[in-house]
Every structure is written in C-alpha cells, then in structure tokens.
Point group: D2
Chain length 368, copies 4
C-alpha cells in the first residue's frame, strides 16, 4: 500500500528526507557474486551531485555512499544490500518562512492534505534529494546489466527550454554526453555541440532573470535481449514509464515514435522485420518494444521535465489557512534540472531492466 518500494525481483526501497540525517536504499534481490565497491556507486552519485558545475544548484554534498550490508569480500552475497548517503550541507533555516504557506508547483499543499503533518524543510520527502538513493541503486543495476548481458543505459539532454538538439540515438557514446568536443566537461549533458552552446546560454539567462527552464531528456538501452516484459500490465514500456514518471518534475514520457507516431499511418509506422544474424527490424519506430516486450532492438525513451518550480521571485499563494500571501523561495536551486536528471533517469531505467531480466530468467526454462 505505501509507495517507497519499486520492482518485484530486483526491488528497491528508499527512505530519507532533504534535510534529515541521510538517504538510504535497500536493494532486495540483487543476484550473488556481482563485484561491487563503494567507488562504483560514488561514480554515479557524482554525476547527479549538486554543485558539480556552474549551471546547477550550489548546495554542496559530498555524497559518499556507505554500504551497510549485502557485500562481502567485494562481491554481493545475494541478500539485502543497503546503501546510506548522509546529508551534509543542510540549511533548514532557509525554509522557516515556508512552514505555513504553500510554494506553487511544489508538493507542500498535497502533502499537507495527505498526511496532516509535513516536513517543510526543503520539501522533506518530496524533495529531489530523495533521488540520491535511486542513483545509488541504479549504479548497482547498471553493473548487473553489464555483467549479465553487456547491457548499457545511456541518457542525454535533447531539449532545454525551446532549444532542441539533433541527435541520432544510435550514435551517442558516453563521452559525447560527459564531455564537449575539446575535452572539457559537458555541463548540460547534451551531445549536440551546436545546441549545447545555446542551451548553456539559455540556462545562464534564466538564472540571471530569476527564472527556470524545463526540457526533454532522451535515453537508450542497448543490448537488451528480446523477451523482457510481462503481459498484460507489467509490460516493459509500462514499467519504464512508471519508473520515469516517479521522478519529480516529469510531465510526460514517450518511446519510439512517441506522440509524433500518433500522426502516422500504419503502413509507414510498422517496422519491417529483417533476417540475418538474428531477427531485427529495418527501422526502430517501435523503440525496442513490441506488445510491451523487448524486441532486441535498442530501447529508446524520452521524458519531458517541467521547469524548476523554485524560482527566486515572489509568487502568489495562500497560507495553510487559505489566506492569500506571497511566497519567495530562498533555498538553493537548479535553474534547469535536466543535466542532473540524466543520471536519475538512467538509474530508473537500469533498475527496471534488472528487475525484468531476473523475472524473465525465473520463468524461462523453469521446466529444466
């Protein structure tokens, strides 16, 4: 009934608030024998970390993970694996003024309605800070996918505000996302050099103007074997969509041809099958999933992310008594969360794939 667990066979359970002692995840169902070190997790946390570059929030978190259980002598034991990430740079006093009023675009009002009580410090459990636990779990899932079938999940930013990049999902490699052509860090995680410059400018301008931008991230999962996903409700596309929609700020998800595909005709939309080494399709408008089950082609997804709700300017709102008021957010926030959204989305996709991989292995060939 409660909602802090995700997955069936590779199941994660998270806890923690923005301004509490820390955030943690328990991974239940990670197969035994996987090599895993704190550094594997720290590397992914670093990509999500606040303060990582000039375009994101200035909150500074070391985000050093502690593995509390489930790893023995460098390998997973198969029993529950817990990872704790302590919070460090907490400035709860920034939020004192918000104790009794609701920030527009935030969950303040809905949490108050739901629970009667709320932890107003930095959004409490509704803060994007909780995603640190997701990324820690995603690091484990990624290692599992790689070990199990050479799987890779890679994401990037393809739209910031009204700036759209031109990207071929099949051609992107990790360094395109993490670095710009001259080798410096890719602050936006956009692999299109032309769009990159415009995106940086747009984000800097939004910050100067006390405003924020949304955007779209795109993800590809490669080498996923055909057969993952369960009819009829736990279709792979359905679980991937739920995973992405569960991330704060996501407004929409599409795969393959997506909303544009709705305007096409069947004769042009269907991907013809082709033989050769294994069955493949000539095109990939189906985004790697047919009937909600992986086809062996690359899985391609996109997620729309809303502009950050916290903008450092006065906004019309009401108090918890319903009295009109003006709220001004003074915490430290991202003018555009897209660059940090990429590792979070990757993590959730990797978790879904790890889950369905184990589910599929259990069913297939169970007759021996």
């Amino acid at each position: 009934m409660p909602g802090n667990s995700f997955g069936e066979a590779f199941r994660i359970t998270t806890a923690g608030e923005s301004h509490g002692p820390g955030n943690l995840v328990v991974i239940d169902g990670c197969p035994p024998g996987l090599a895993l070190a704190p550094l594997d997790i720290a590397a992914e946390l670093k990509r999500r970390r606040p303060g990582q570059n000039p375009l994101v929030t200035t909150r500074t978190e070391d985000d050093a993970p502690e593995i509390l259980s489930g790893v023995f002598e460098g390998r997973t034991t198969g029993t529950s694996l817990a990872i704790l990430v302590r919070n460090a740079d907490v400035r709860s006093q920034d939020y004192d003024a918000l104790r009794d009023s609701y920030r527009p675009g935030h969950a303040d009002f809905t949490y108050a309605e739901k629970y009667g009580v709320r932890d107003h410090r930095g959004g409490g459990r509704a803060s994007a800070r909780e995603t640190v636990a997701r990324v820690a779990a995603g690091a484990v899932a990624k290692k599992l996918l790689r070990a199990a079938f050479g799987g890779q999940v890679l994401g990037w930013v393809c739209q910031v505000g009204t700036v759209r990049a031109a990207i071929d999902p099949d051609a992107v490699v990790t360094t395109d996302v993490e670095e710009v052509p001259d080798g410096g860090p890719n602050f936006v995680r956009c692999p299109d050099p032309a769009a990159y410059g415009a995106m940086v400018s747009a984000i800097e301008q939004a910050r100067r103007e006390g405003d924020s931008l949304g955007g779209v991230a795109e993800f590809v999962a490669r080498n996923v074997p055909a057969g993952l996903g369960e009819p009829v409700f736990d279709k792979l596309k359905a679980d991937l969509a739920k995973a992405l929609f569960s991330i704060p700020a996501v407004l929409g998800v599409e795969y393959g041809s997506g909303f544009a595909g709705a305007a096409m005709r069947g004769s042009e939309h269907n991907d013809a099958f082709a033989g050769g080494t294994g069955v493949v399709t000539e095109t990939n408008r189906h985004g790697g999933m047919l009937g909600g089950i992986s086809s062996g082609m690359p899985i391609v997804l996109r997620a729309a992310v809303k502009p950050t709700s916290s903008v450092p300017r006065p906004q019309r709102s009401v108090t918890s008594e319903g009295v009109p008021t003006i709220v001004t957010t003074t915490g430290r926030h991202d003018p555009c969360v897209l660059p940090r959204f990429v590792p979070i989305g990757e993590a959730m996709i990797a978790i879904v794939l790890a889950d369905h991989w184990i589910r599929w292995r259990g069913q297939r060939g169970a007759l021996g």
Copy 2:
C-alpha cells in the same frame, strides 16, 4: 513476478485470449456494499464493443458479462469479484497463415522469443481483446468512485492522424462524447464538432486505402479529493502512466502541460494557489497532481496511440526461421482504434483512482 495483476488495494487480475473460450477479471479488494448489476458492466462493455459502428472492426461480440462471485443480493460482499465475458465471434482460421511468421508491429516475435510457444490465433494474450476484462473491472471502479466521492472519469478523442480537435477539458460532458450535436451517435468520440467530420473522413479514407490511423485521447478525472498517490514511486502520476502504457498501442502519456510544458519557464508554468472555498489553483498546468499527489483540481491526461499495426496489405517480414517473407493480415481490424480506446483508458484511470482511494483511506486517520 508475472504481470497479469494491477493495483494493490483494488487489485485486478485478468486472464483470457483473443480466440480462447473467454476473458475474465477477478477484482480483489472492492469494498462491500456497492450496488452492482450485470447491466452496469454491460453498459461499459458496449462502449468498447467491436462492431458498434461503421468505423470500427466488424468482429461481432455480444460481450455479455457473467458475475461469478462477489455480489450477493445486488451488492458487493467485499470478497473477490469475478466477471467472465465469453468470446463468440472467433475466426481462428484467419490466422493459420501466420503460425510461422511475424506480423510487423505486433507482439508475435517478442512472445515467441519470450515464451518459446505462442498462441498465434489473433494475437492470443497480446490481442486487444484482453482489454474487455479491463473495461469490466473499470465499470466497477467507476461505480465505486461515484459512490465514494462523486468521482467521474471521462475521455475523448482529441487527435486522429493529423486532425487535431480544439477542446476545453473542463467543459466536456458525457453526451458531447457519445453523441453528435444532432443527437446521433458520435462514432469517433470526439466532442469537437468541427474536427469530428474531418476525423470521420480520415478514418474512412484510411480504410478504403487499406491503411490505418493513430491519434491521441484525452482524459479528465473530476472531483478527486486532494491527497491521493504515494511517495515516492507510487505517485499518482506514475501509476496512471503505467496504467495507460499497459494498454496495447500506447506510445506516450503526458499530464497537465505535458511535453509542451517542457518548453515553458518556471515563472509562467507554476500555478498560483488561490483561497476561497478550499485551496485551489488559478490555472491547472499541473494537471491535478503536485509531487505526484492529487491536488483536488481536475486530473488531465493524454495518451498517444499508434496506428493499428494490422493493415490489409502485404508487408515485409521474416518467418520464425528468419527467412524473409511477405505477410498479409486478413483478420478483421479497426482502421483507427481511438474511438474504442476511450472506454479502455477511462477504465484504467478509474481503477488507479479506486486503488489509491482505498490505500489513502487505510493510512489516513489510522490512529483513530
């Protein structure tokens, strides 16, 4: 691990294939005391039924539901409620030629990869025929929402192929969707009279040309109390998205401002809170959910549906041995599934809301 159940507190489990004896749903968790008759279910099945109007498939199914358990003297007992809908108009021989080849756009290939065996008759379990069980369950969920808080879930078609309608979600009523202005049946379930004619023409043309169209459906859920949805994974938006994505042919889902919202600025996207009788927002770009929890404002969702994969024309494919072949679909199919998609989407949304309503009631005030 398997995927034929959906929901936690109001949980449905379905079974049945396109060309087997029938389809059924078990609803576990329907509260006791709800008035329920077979006619309540039949009315919703009729809206989904094949052969209901000239624009849809000519398969003819009576779709008469049999309540097998869970109702006593006209009211639900609180124990598991089973509904069976027998299949009638089955022409399995239409599919004999497809036993060893894969239809483009269908799940034939992925099921074969997943299970090793497949029921090739009409898609077996991957057929949209399975949604008859969802609509039966949705009829119960709708009655529950109405009884519990006057809830209403209403959907319509807002795009067919490239024809887009102009619709104000707050203004649509049931008769706008089911009838055209002169009182006749609304074959497309599009409440915009101007777009309606163009949509009918587009569908008729696609059928004449042996082709098919996709489109977009929009849904609104009204009177939903604030507080539904569970952080952090079972957010209401996440479960609604999973529910819609679990329906065959859905390529994308968005709520509120959706993908368009990704291009906006935070200052224009945030909905200001307003007081008065209860807290409301001045605008509804948040689509009735903040932090993934219902806000009390109307919940607004859209789903992109791909053009029907079954088109009566030769298509390139391969056999199960990987040998190139040409397949020609000869079964009876919808040139555009959107009109029949509307009641299916409504059903899934109602099921999610019923589930979260019961979940919320369990937690709230459990301290007495």
Copy 3:
C-alpha cells in the same frame, strides 16, 4: 491489501462462493511448455470431491474443470491460466434459518463484523468449498514440480480424534494413501492399516452421535533441490506454514521435530552432515529446511485440523442483534474433514514449492 492471491512468481488468485455460480483460479506465472489437460486437474479434484466415499459429506459435485485460458494445443503458454469449476449441488435453502444468527466455530460473526454484509448461504466465501480452486491450481503446480525436478508432494492422515497412526514418512507411497492393503479405496487416507480401522470406526461413531472429529495430516515433499526459500521473511518454512494455515480449520503447523523438538537438547537435535553423493544429513529432525531454506532432504510437515464446526445438534449462540438463540446446522457436512484435507494440503505445498522454485531460478546465475 486484499487476500485472495497467494505466491509471487507462481501466483494464484481465487474467487467464488459455496453457493454461487462457481469457483475459479487464475494462475499467473506458470512457465510455458508444460503439458496440461483438463484430466490432470480433474484427477486431483476427484480426491477432494464431496461425496467420494461414505465417510464424507453427501453434497454431490461433479467438479469438472474448464480451462478458460493459458493452454494452447495441450501446453501452457506462459500467460495467465484460468480454471473454472461450476457449483452444481447447491441447496441454499438449508441456510435460510441462519441469515440472522451466528454458527459457533464458523466465520459468520467475523465476516459480519468485517464487511457489514455477508453471504450466509453455506458460508459464502468462508466455506471450504473455496478450496476446490486451490486443488485445481495445485494440480498444475504438481505437474510443474514433476517436470522441473521430479518433485513429489504426498500427504496422509496420521491422527483422527484420539487415534494416532505410526508412519515412517520416508516409506509412504501413493498407493498406501489411496488404497487399503486389499486394494479397496482408503476412505481415510491413512497408510497405517492398524490405525485405519480404528479411524473408520471413530468417524462412523461421531457421525452417528451427531458429532465431529479433528485430526492431524502429515506431508512430505521429495526431491526438492537445496536452495529454495528466501531469507529472512519468505523462508520456505514460513511460506509453507502460511499456506497450510490459510486452509480452513487448521489450528497448528509444525515441521521436522516440531513441538516435540522443543523439549530436546541441541546436542541430540542437530542433524550431523554426511558426505557421499552430495551433502546429506544423517537424520532429518530439521525436516528438510535449515535457516528456512531447503536442504535437499525430504521436507516433512504436519497440520492440526479442528473438528468440523458444523455438527447437527443444537448449539448456543446469538442473533446478529446479540440476542441469545439456539442454532442447528442442517446442511450436509463431513464428520471429519481429514480425508479430504489431504489433497488440499498437498496442493498448497506444491504451490509454495513451485513459487520458490521459479523465484530461485530467477536469482541464481542471473549474472550469466
């Protein structure tokens, strides 16, 4: 939240009441490719069937199973498998007098408290009639265990009232349970010929006196591979205990040395390990499970069953208004349910083992 499903990877969901149209089970997660015919199911139902011999209830049910989905050309497809067993010999009028009073030992009162409404006809959902769906599912699970690892689940009666049998669990074979030494049917399903006669007499005497008897059944699961069961809550012993306790009338469950083991010393209780072909233990006081995980030794369990609550004599009770009354049960009932309990217990044990087998296969070797 509701309780009509059992299992994770091999999950059954049941519906149906004693005097409704029928009872059904949906099995979700049965692996593809298992040979399955209605006769496989009918054979197990026959062992549970009322009216099968002079010692049980005279209600007559044909119990012919209809497979509604999940089997194609004689083999399971891997998708959800539904089985319906219609009720035939229903005499609801027998229960009219009970509409407003509570039968001692039955669930009448607790259902009324729980749901507010109740189906008083023959106990409704609380009737042992619901176990027909469990036995149908158990027939599938048994076939799966046999195909997967030559698994066998066998039960028998080891106590009726105060008559206790002397049985070596390792030595019992199916014919010992189903037949008496001269080849006739074993009405009690007790493989100890000496105790058998005394049990038959005791049951006949109880019936003559308008009374009923309880007893104890014992079960063994053979050839179960080591490694099944999940720490720490889904231990195999925990899931087996839940499975048996979920059957109506079960008062207690023990495995291996059981309650008697509580009086032993560690030095005498521990089973020494021995080598040879695979690791085994010299004795089996641990009942085939260590740390809640199967050891490869035979799994041995016992369940205590209460005397049938329905006895055809006046009993003190109250009406739904709390007014003292006398109720007299007039339906048809078993003077001792133990003979029919055996196939039900076997079914639940087989379902648990099928579930854990698939769960284990998913996790083990998932790294490829």
Copy 4:
C-alpha cells in the same frame, strides 16, 4: 521475489548481517502523527539485547537506534521511516575456522547451495542478529496499536526443555513477565514462579554441560477489534503463523486449542456465542480468530523453538567439498534463546496486527 520485506500496508524491509556495519529497517506505511522517540525503540531493543542477564549470550551490544527518516518534531510524517542499529561487539575471527565447513543445524550449507557465496562470519544474514531490526520495527507497531485501539501484545515463556509452566493467558500482565515476585528481573520471562526456578536450573545445567535447550513461548494480543484478517490466503492466522515461522529456530506454531484441539470433538470444541455488551464467546478455544478473522476475543498463539544449534562441543559435519570433518562452535551463544525470543515474537505479532489494521481501515467504509 526476494524475501526481506514483510507486510502490505505496514511494510517492513530489513538489511544487515551479524558481523557487518549494522542492521536496519525501513518501515513503509506507518500512519502520520504517531509520537515516536528513539527511546521508544531502545526500550524494546533492551529486552532483546544480548548480554542482558546471566542466562544469555555474552556478546555485548549497546543497540542504540538511530532514526534516519520519517520522524519530524517527534511525530511520524507518514513517509518511510528508517532505523539503523550499528553492530559493535563483533569478533569475526571466531568464525574463521568455519569458512569451509558447515555447522550442523545452521544455514551454512543451505546458503552456500542457494547463493554460491556466503558470509560465514557469525551466520551473516542467517544470524539471529537480524532480528534486532524486527524488534525496532515492532516497537513502532506496538505504539501504533496502543494509539489506535489500545492494543497490547504480550508474550512469555511457557516451556523450557521439558519444564512446562501453568499459565492462564488472560491473567498475565507485563510485570509478571519482566519481574519475579520479589521484584528482581525475570531472567527467563516465565510468569509461573514455580516453573521459573526449574527453568533457570535447567538452562544453567545445559550451559555447564556444553549443551542447549529449546522451548515454547506463548503470546496474547488484547483489545484487537473484530474484523482483522483477509480471506482466503491472508487470513490473520496465516499471516501470524508466517510471521512467527520467519523467526530463526521456530519449529511449530499453533493458536487457540492448537494440536490438542485436533483430538477434541466438534461439540466440545465449538465456542458458544454470548451476548451482553457486544458479542463474545463463552470460551476461547478459537484463539480469537474465526475463519481466519479476528473475533474480538484475545488472540492466543504458541511457538515451538528448537534448542540452540550452536553448542560448544565437537559435532560431525562435512567441508564444502563434502569431506567429513568435526566442527566446534566457538562463538558466544545463548544456551536457550527463549527469554530473548519473547520480544522478537511480540514484535512480529504487532507488525502483523498493524498491517491488518491499516488494510482493514482502507476497505471498510470506503464508500463514504
């Protein structure tokens, strides 16, 4: 699929090994507004703590709980609540000799078969050390039951080895369990003063002889409202049995009349209903549950616990290669775990009741 979570609406997930950094529990679904301080948890941990008195293991653990999330300003927020208990007195070197051999009665062999890898230090995840997380969660559940309906869960030891106590479950109060008549600590948690002395002597003698004892604990849950439990699989008796069987060393569970009831006749076993202020039964052989649903009468359960497997004397075993060997356990262990088992059993019972209480509240009256 994995097994480290328990419960549906009040769901606990645990992690941690005997000799790792610590043990933790995430409670998902605790209702908001419950007053909760670390001291509430510490008080229960103290009752389970090793080293608490001369009859138990000499391992010394401070067992100071850290609340990592879910509590704000002294009250639960309704979001996930995490509690961490660090391990302190770890002597892993005691186990070095066991790296490649299997201790009789322990899970060493079955874990090795299941996972391929194992954490041999003190049993790893199979150690009773993991129950510290259960007791922490149970402390929260107990507070919830008390706040919600004045519920109380109380356990005691009723048998140690062959010494049996005579106890009336309705008469026992907390001080009887925690103190002896002269006010000193009750080292055994047995409220029968006569049996108490014999139990202490028996445990001391077993320790002197390098041996161990088992026993039986009894539990009562009071003030539980009628209506808790779900038909047909999640019966309250079934979930309680699973909860108790999930605890290490439990060999058997019974409720109400239990195994003794199996020898009774229906006419003497049925509890007559009586009116008055609310419906009650004249006797309580049904142990507070009818049809698996609480009746409002006290819930009474007993659990059989095996003698501690770790006995400080040489035992026959085999190495992981199957070669015969002698193992001698040298860690610190309880000669009889019963005194410390009591708070663990209470915790699990409280967790089941909290879970079913919330589940029931969700369903009941959901129609408004």
